[in-house]
Each structure stands twice: as structure tokens, then as C-alpha cells.
């Protein structure tokens, strides 16, 4: 989809049915399951269609989990098309590769698709204008689309989009170069604070999530998984379970074959008329497991081993100058170790999906970030073709990365095949927290050789953590490029001798990506360490950070001994630009009145951190008040350069939310494992920020930018934990180097 080649093709070359003659499709090919945009009389793109009655159908091909992308992408199309938002129908796409990637992950919904969909919408608008010009026999240049009509001002003629749709469908696709995109001042909806399409439903309890999806005659399942990752079922006794009113069946799901990928873990499923009955039945189930080699996994010991490993030399993943020579000639050495725990995503809606297997095909409704991964995973589990899996995407009650891994959807499909009825799978909160794909635990070591002024001339950062790569290769022990390139080996500091090393880590649990991924632990170590160095040097932390970053410049990362991932984008379009990083730092200092802040001590202080991730530049200044073991956050300022934005209110909301999500990670969230079993199970022992613990006000300051759109959903999170840790140091003099901070504060 990166090459947005527009070409006109006869529909019938691709489709044997449904469509009238002469209409157009754009791009790749159409699969068997047509959306109503496909069946519209005029559909010049897979993303949009216009019906004869004038209804514009816009396809939301990305999942909605709270970022607003289901609304923002169609809103951009409506704007470019000059459609009236009131006459637009936004339709959620099924999983289908014709849309390009639907993996709603990596903070890329806008940046990967904005050009494609604007081009598609501008093509449609141009064709409607041309159709009107032909109809009125006037030059096309004199016809202008305006709010769902095409007008010819000179002759005072006006025709609706619906009226022109059939004629437009017979025209050739305009050359991409001939298209005129709207200018910013012409936008109707972009950045105009238009509510998301589901807002009213969400406020009235009408939104349909995976948990709410249903199929006629379905059973509801609750599944007992091995309490230890990789355990195998020895035996089970369901006699008592089957006596529970409403329980209809108890069946097994085979254990995954390594690597686990997104396969179901395996287990014993209780199927009942209602979820309540299934839960009651599950309580009576007697299951014996062979817990396997991970039954001795202890996350505290493991974390200590990561910290110890980070003190030893590892595989070099970035090198510049000569760090050892730099240390030898340094006036002073400072070193510190940091660690972070496993984390669970804990979206408010636990994993849920309903599926029906019938005549060799599967239809499912799922809260999923990645319906194409659903197709692949379900097909793999059932041994069918992925084209025979139709995945309808519901609203997601949060995702944060968990719901891009569709093991629970495959469970529903497998169970449906076994019992011959549609089956809805609901993970309980306990299932969710005990059997997640956890955010990785990490041990890190940073060492700096400082000159007489306290500035590093040599910097070594070792990081050791079990990799997400173990999802796809159970023997993987080293980090993937994407994990290294998340705020670690792409560190844009002006230090002549710089080395990053990665040590090996054998894995014992499912590791997955969680909002901001490896940036979270790397940013915590790096920006805590920078704050330590600032205090050692007796310098203001903001001034000091600016001196480390050095002058504004674009840094080409590849020549410094590494293969730089750059969030799948080329460094020419999305360079590491320290001028932009400096800008957000200056802005946050100004907006937070940093120079005149409470200077710290007596439990009151401010902390700072700035971090580039997902191609976006973010600086944070956080105020804390520490009372005993309790931390209040009266103010948090976040300055953001995310390039061009398209739905400003939702961008603000994402950073407000990141302030809270980051506070949970900083202060209180931790998954621990003993004897291979996760110790937490619900919100009484897996802690997340509640209203009084969250920042009272997150002030988000957006830089207006014409740079290409960058990430929004995730980049707010990484600088939050170090900003809080640094604020606690300013307030109390306590340097906390292990997350969650509350533990150290109360120790």
C-alpha cells in the first residue's frame, strides 16, 4: 500500500457478482466479503463509496480502541471529498488485506494512511466535478465540490454528489499529479473538534464491544488455562461442573506448539448458556497440569539476574568513538543500575470474541486490533484458508497492544467447531491478568565518564530483557531491532564515545508489546540517569539535558554501528531531529514556568524528561507532592511535536491519557511471578491509577507543525515515569531506580 498507485480497473475483472457495470474500484483487489462501500454505485477506492441517494460511505479499516482513528481517518476523507459529515456513514471494515495493514498498533494509523486516503478522496471529488462539468457542458475547472454538492457559480448550477455518482463512476481515474489537495485553511472537519462517531453511543451504553457481541444460539465459554506458561493438561474431572445448571459442555483445547505466536494457550473450556453459569461450572472443575520447565520461574530472582547481566559486557548494538578510552580519561565516573517489572495491559474490557464455524468457514465478531491476524490465527488453528475467515471488528474496550494478539478469537473458533454452535469466549479479569502477553521486565546499567564540567564524554548503556521475539522464536535471547531502536540505541545525545550493549535473556512467560513498548524501560533508565548527572554537576536538569542533546541537527543513525529501525520509516522523511527535541523542551519549560518552580525539598518538587519515540518529540515536566508513601501529582505539562495533526482534540486526549497510563507504570503497576504462577489477579493487587492518584491536570501543549504526521497514541508514555522519579528526587532526595516507584518510596 505504500505505493499508492491509482489505476482504473473494470470491476467485473475482479468480481463475478454484486456490482453494476461501469463502476470503478481502485487499487488491489476485492475479496469475497463486500462492504456497502463496495456495492455503492460509485466507489473509486476501497475506502469510500457514494450511493445514488447521496450517502457517502467511508470505511474505517483501523480498529477503534480509544484513539479516535475510526473517526479521524473517515473525517479526513470527508474533508478532502467535501462531503457533508452529516450525510456520511462510517462503516467498520472486516479484516481484509485489500485495505492494507489493519494492525492498529505502533501509533501509525494516521501517518501510514493519510496520504492514501486523501488521494482517494481527492480523486473522487475531482471525478464528481468532472461529471458535473460534462453534464453542464462547462469546463471542469469552473466546477467546484462544496459540502456534498458540485456547484458552477457562473451559471448558478448545483448538483448533489448522489446525482453525479453514476456518471462519475464512468470516468477515468485522474492522474495523481493532477489532483489538488485542500489547503489547511479550507478544512471543515480536520482539527475542528468534531466528536468521534461513536461518542453518543458510548455515553448511552449503546456501543457494541467484543463483550457485547452475540450470535443466535451461542454458548458462552470460560476457559481454564495452565497456571504456568507452557504447562500441559494431564487430566480433568468435569463431573461436578456438568451438574451446574446452564452448563452444556466441557471440552479441551490443545496446547500451542512452540513458538506460541498468537495460538491459544490450550486448556479446559466450560460452555454454558450464560457466562455466569460457565464461571460457576469452572469453579467446580478439577484440573491437573504438568506445569513444565517454567514452574520454577521467579520474577524477582529473574529481575535481579537481568540487573546482574547488565553489569557484564554484552553484544554491541551501537558504538561510536571508544567508550573505554573515554572512561579512562574522564574526570569522574558515574554509574547506576535500573530495573522495571513485568506489566499487564489490563484493558477495561478483557479479551472477548464470538465465533461460528460452519461449512468449513468461520465468521467471528471480535474486539481485535488486528483482524487480519485474526484471519491468519483462526485459519491456522482450524486448518482452513484465511480467506474463509470473516472477522467483524467490534469496538475495543481498550487495547494497549493486548488485542493485537488474537489467541482468544481462535479459542472461540475452535470451540465452535467442537460443539457445533457459535461460541463466545470471555476472559475473566483473572484470566486476563494471569495469562497476558506481558510487557517485558528489564535490567539496565548506565555508565558515564564525565569531564571537569560534569558533561559526559563517554556513555555506556547496557540493557537486558526478554524479547518480544520469543513470541515467534522461543529460543530468541537477544533484542529485536525494533526493541533496540525504541529510545535506546537511537539516543540523540552529543557524546563522542557512545556504546550500547545487549545481554542475553532466556524467557519464561509470554512477552508482548504494550503501549510504547521498549521505550518505557529505556526512557526510565536514560532520563533518570540524565537527572542524576545534572544534580552531580550542580546544573538545572533542563539546561543539562539541552547540553547533552547539543545543537539542533538531524542525526543519521545508521553510521553509528547499528541498523536503525526508525519505526519503519525512512530517516530522510522522519529524521532524528534534535532541533525539534529542543523545541519541545523549551516549550515545556516555558509553559510549566520551570525556571520559577518550587525548588524541591519538603516533599514538593518538579521533575523533567524528554524523549523521542514513534517519530514524535515529547517533553514532560511533572510536579509532585509526597506525603508519606503517597504521591500526589497536581500538575503535569506535556509539550508535543507530533508533526501535522488531524484531530487535535483526540491528540490532546491521547497525551492526557498517556499521563495517566505513565503514572500507573511509574507508581504502582507490577506483575510478579512465583513458582511460575502470576501473583496478581485483579485490580486489588494489580494496581492502576485511579482518579485521585492520576495527575490532577495534564496540560498538553501542541507544537503546530507541517512536518509529516507522526505517532500520537504511544509517545506520551515513555517520559512520564522518569519525570515522576526525578520529581520525587527533587521533593525528597530519594533516588528511586526501580519501578514501580511506590515500592521504593515506602521501603
Amino acid at each position: 500500500m505504500s505505493e499508492n498507485t491509482l489505476h482504473v480497473v473494470e470491476r467485473r475483472a475482479f468480481l463475478k457478482y454484486t456490482f453494476g457495470a461501469g463502476a470503478l474500484i481502485l487499487g488491489t483487489h476485492v475479496e469475497a466479503f463486500a462492504s456497502s462501500a463496495d456495492t455503492a454505485v460509485f466507489h473509486p477506492s476501497v475506502y469510500l463509496g457514494i450511493e445514488p441517494n447521496g450517502t457517502v460511505i467511508l470505511i474505517a479499516h483501523r480498529s477503534e480502541m480509544g484513539t479516535g482513528s475510526k473517526s479521524t481517518l473517515p473525517m479526513i476523507m470527508a474533508d478532502e471529498l467535501e462531503a457533508d459529515w452529516k450525510r456520511v456513514k462510517v462503516e467498520q471494515a472486516i479484516g481484509d488485506e485489500k485495505y492494507g495493514s489493519q494492525n492498529t498498533d505502533g501509533s501509525c494509523s494516521i501517518r501510514d494512511f493519510v496520504e492514501i486516503i486523501r488521494t482517494a478522496a481527492a480523486s473522487a471529488r475531482t471525478m464528481l466535478e468532472q461529471a458535473a462539468a460534462q453534464k453542464w457542458n462547462v469546463p471542469a475547472a469552473e466546477c467546484q465540490a462544496k459540502n456534498h454538492f458540485v456547484v458552477h457559480t457562473k451559471s448558478n448550477k448545483k448538483a448533489g454528489f448522489g446525482e453525479l455518482a453514476t456518471a462519475a463512476s464512468k470516468l477515468p481515474m485522474p492522474d495523481k499529479k493532477s489532483l489538488k489537495l485542500k489547503t489547511d485553511s479550507e478544512f471543515r472537519y480536520i482539527n475542528k473538534n468534531v466528536p468521534v462517531v461513536d461518542q453518543q453511543d458510548l455515553c448511552e451504553g449503546k456501543g457494541v464491544f467484543g463483550l457485547d457481541a452475540k450470535m443466535p444460539n451461542m454458548l458462552v465459554a470460560s476457559i481454564e488455562h495452565s497456571p504456568v506458561y507452557g504447562g500441559t493438561l494431564v487430566s480433568f474431572d468435569a463431573a461436578e461442573t456438568k451438574k451446574v445448571p446452564g452448563v452444556r459442555d466441557v471440552v479441551t483445547i490443545d496446547r500451542f506448539k512452540p513458538p506460541h505466536n498468537f495460538q491459544p494457550l490450550g486448556g479446559v473450556a466450560v460452555l454454558a448458556d450464560t457466562y455466569w453459569a460457565a464461571l460457576q461450572g469452572r469453579k467446580k472443575l478439577k484440573v491437573e497440569w504438568n506445569l513444565g520447565p517454567n514452574a520454577s520461574y521467579d520474577s524477582d530472582r529473574y529481575r535481579d539476574s537481568l540487573v546482574a547481566a547488565a553489569k557484564q559486557p554484552g553484544k554491541i548494538v551501537r558504538t561510536q568513538g571508544n567508550v573505554e578510552a573515554g572512561f579512562a580519561s574522564a574526570a569522574k565516573i558515574h554509574e547506576a543500575s535500573y530495573s522495571t517489572p513485568l506489566l499487564s495491559h489490563a484493558p477495561m474490557e478483557p479479551p472477548a470474541a464470538v465465533a461460528e464455524f460452519k461449512n468449513g468457514k468461520v465468521v467471528c465478531h471480535a474486539a481485535t486490533q488486528n483482524p487480519q491476524a485474526v484471519q491468519e490465527t483462526v485459519a491456522g488453528a482450524l486448518g482452513i484458508d484465511k480467506k474463509d475467515v470473516t472477522c467483524h471488528v467490534t469496538l475495543l474496550g481498550g487495547g494497549f497492544g493486548r488485542k493485537s494478539k488474537p489467541d482468544y478469537v481462535a479459542e472461540a473458533a475452535l470451540l465452535s467447531k467442537k460443539v457445533g454452535r457459535p461460541v463466545k469466549v470471555i476472559w475473566s479479569r483473572e484470566d486476563d491478568i494471569r495469562t497476558d502477553f506481558y510487557h517485558s521486565t528489564a535490567g539496565m546499567y548506565v555508565k558515564a565518564g564525565l569531564d571537569a564540567g560534569g558533561k559526559p564524554t563517554s556513555w555506556l548503556h547496557r540493557s537486558v530483557f526478554p524479547s518480544i521475539g520469543t513470541t515467534f522464536d522461543e529460543k530468541a535471547e537477544y533484542a529485536m531491532d525494533l526493541e533496540m531502536g525504541m529510545g535506546w540505541n537511537d539516543l540523540p545525545f552529543d557524546i563522542p564515545n557512545h556504546q550500547a550493549e545487549n545481554g542475553p535473556a532466556k524467557n519464561h512467560i509470554r512477552i508482548g508489546w504494550l503501549r510504547a513498548v521498549a521505550n518505557v524501560y529505556h526512557a526510565f533508565a536514560i532520563h533518570s540517569f540524565v537527572d542524576e548527572l545534572a544534580h552531580l554537576a550542580g546544573k538545572d536538569p533542563v539546561e543539562y539535558a539541552l547540553s547533552l542533546i547539543g545543537p539542533g541537527r538531524k542525526i543519521e543513525m545508521n553510521p553509528v554501528g547499528m541498523k536503525y529501525w526508525n519505526h519503519n520509516q525512512d530517516q530522510k522523511t522522519f529524521p532524528v531531529d534534535t532541533a525539534r527535541l529542543r523545541n519541545v523542551i523549551d516549550l515545556v519549560a516555558q509553559k510549566s514556568n520551570w525556571a520559577n518552580r518550587a525548588k524541591g525539598g519538603n516533599g514538593h518538587g518538579w521533575g523533567f524528561a524528554a524523549h523521542r519515540s514513534f517519530l514524535t518529540y515529547v517533553a514532560v515536566a511533572t510536579e509532585v507532592k509526597v506525603e508519606g508513601g503517597r504521591v500526589r501529582i497536581p500538575n503535569m505539562h506535556i509539550a508535543v511535536d507530533a508533526g501535522k495533526t488531524y484531530n487535535e482534540d483526540r491528540v490532546l486526549a491521547q497525551f492526557e491519557g498517556a499521563g495517566v497510563f505513565g503514572t500507573s507504570i511509574a507508581m504502582m503497576s507490577e506483575i510478579s511471578v512465583k513458582d511460575g504462577k502470576v501473583q496478581q489477579s485483579n485490580f486489588h493487587n494489580y494496581n492502576v491509577a485511579r482518579l485521585p492518584e492520576a495527575p490532577e491536570t495534564v496540560h498538553v501543549h501542541l507544537i503546530k507543525s507541517d512536518a509529516p504526521a507522526a505517532g500520537v497514541g504511544e509517545p506520551g508514555v515513555p517520559p512520564i515515569p522518569p519525570s515522576i522519579a526525578n520529581a520525587i528526587f527533587a521533593a525528597t532526595g530519594k533516588r528511586l531506580r526501580d519501578l514501580p516507584l511506590r515500592k521504593g518510596l515506602r521501603a
Partner: protein, 149 residues
């Protein structure tokens, strides 16, 4: 047999009296606006009103709801001042917890029409929002109450 009122209509229930109101509403009456989040009264996603007070549907057995009047998010029909304020402030992100947040806030304002920040903290701390919409929730509660933000 248990008799109760749900959104004004009289209902009869003959199942397990220990069944939580949450699952009765969701699975038997198909009122799915009330959400499951924890099953232990820890997150507030299942908040409904029983005789005008906010309670957790997952912790309210059918036996204890007997003879009472239950109101769910569906009965507010978008007309409640709290819902209007929620929409004016664009509160929801994923929206999953918002039924519970709105029911909790509506009960708060019934009891304390002009809540202080402390009142809002106390009343809303049982409702988790993982997206982190808390500051907009606070703002919307104040807007609905007509107190200064």
C-alpha cells in the same frame, strides 16, 4: 421467585438467587450498556442505581435486588445532564468504562448537587478508566453540576 423493577418495568426472575445483577442485566435482559470489568467490585464498570444509589452490579445478588428498583445507563437515554456534559467535554476514549462512570457521577450529583473536588475524588475513585480520561471526567462532573472547573 424474585420480583424487581428494571428501568421502570416489573421483572420476574426464577434462577439462582446468588446470580449477580450484572449478569442478569447483560445476559437475560440484554441490557449490555452495563459492563463487566473485574467481577469483584474493584473497577466500577458495572455501576447501576438500586433505589437511587450507585452500586456495583457484580456485587449485587439477585436476592438482594428483590423488591428494588434498578436503573441502568439505558434508562438515561442521553438526556441526563451528566451525559450531556460528558459529550460536551468529549470524555470517552475507548468508552468501555463510561457507562459506569456516568452512573456513578449521576448518583453523586443526586446526593451532592454541588460537589467539591474532594467529593468527586471520593465518589469516583472506585471507577477505573484505563485510557486515563479522569481530568475530563472531573471537568464534566463540574459542568453537569454547574460548579466552576
Amino acid at each position: 421467585m424474585i420480583q424487581l423493577k428494571v428501568n421502570g418495568a416489573t421483572r420476574k426472575f426464577e434462577g439462582d438467587p446468588e446470580m449477580p445483577l450484572l449478569w442478569y442485566l447483560r445476559e437475560l435482559l440484554e441490557l449490555t450498556g452495563t459492563k463487566y470489568g473485574c467481577g469483584m467490585g474493584l473497577c466500577g464498570a458495572c455501576t447501576v442505581h438500586v433505589d437511587g444509589k450507585a452500586v456495583r452490579g457484580c456485587q449485587t445478588t439477585m436476592a438482594s435486588a428483590a423488591g428494588k428498583s434498578v436503573v441502568t445507563i439505558e434508562a438515561l437515554k442521553g438526556q441526563h445532564p451528566v451525559q450531556k456534559a460528558w459529550m460536551a467535554c468529549n470524555v470517552p476514549q475507548c468508552g468501555y468504562c463510561q457507562s459506569g462512570q456516568i452512573m456513578q457521577a449521576a448518583a453523586l450529583l443526586k446526593e451532592k448537587p454541588k460537589p467539591t473536588d474532594k467529593d468527586i475524588d471520593d465518589a469516583m475513585q472506585g471507577n477505573i478508566c484505563r485510557c486515563g480520561t479522569y481530568q475530563r471526567i472531573r471537568k464534566a462532573v463540574k459542568m453537569a453540576a454547574g460548579v466552576r472547573a
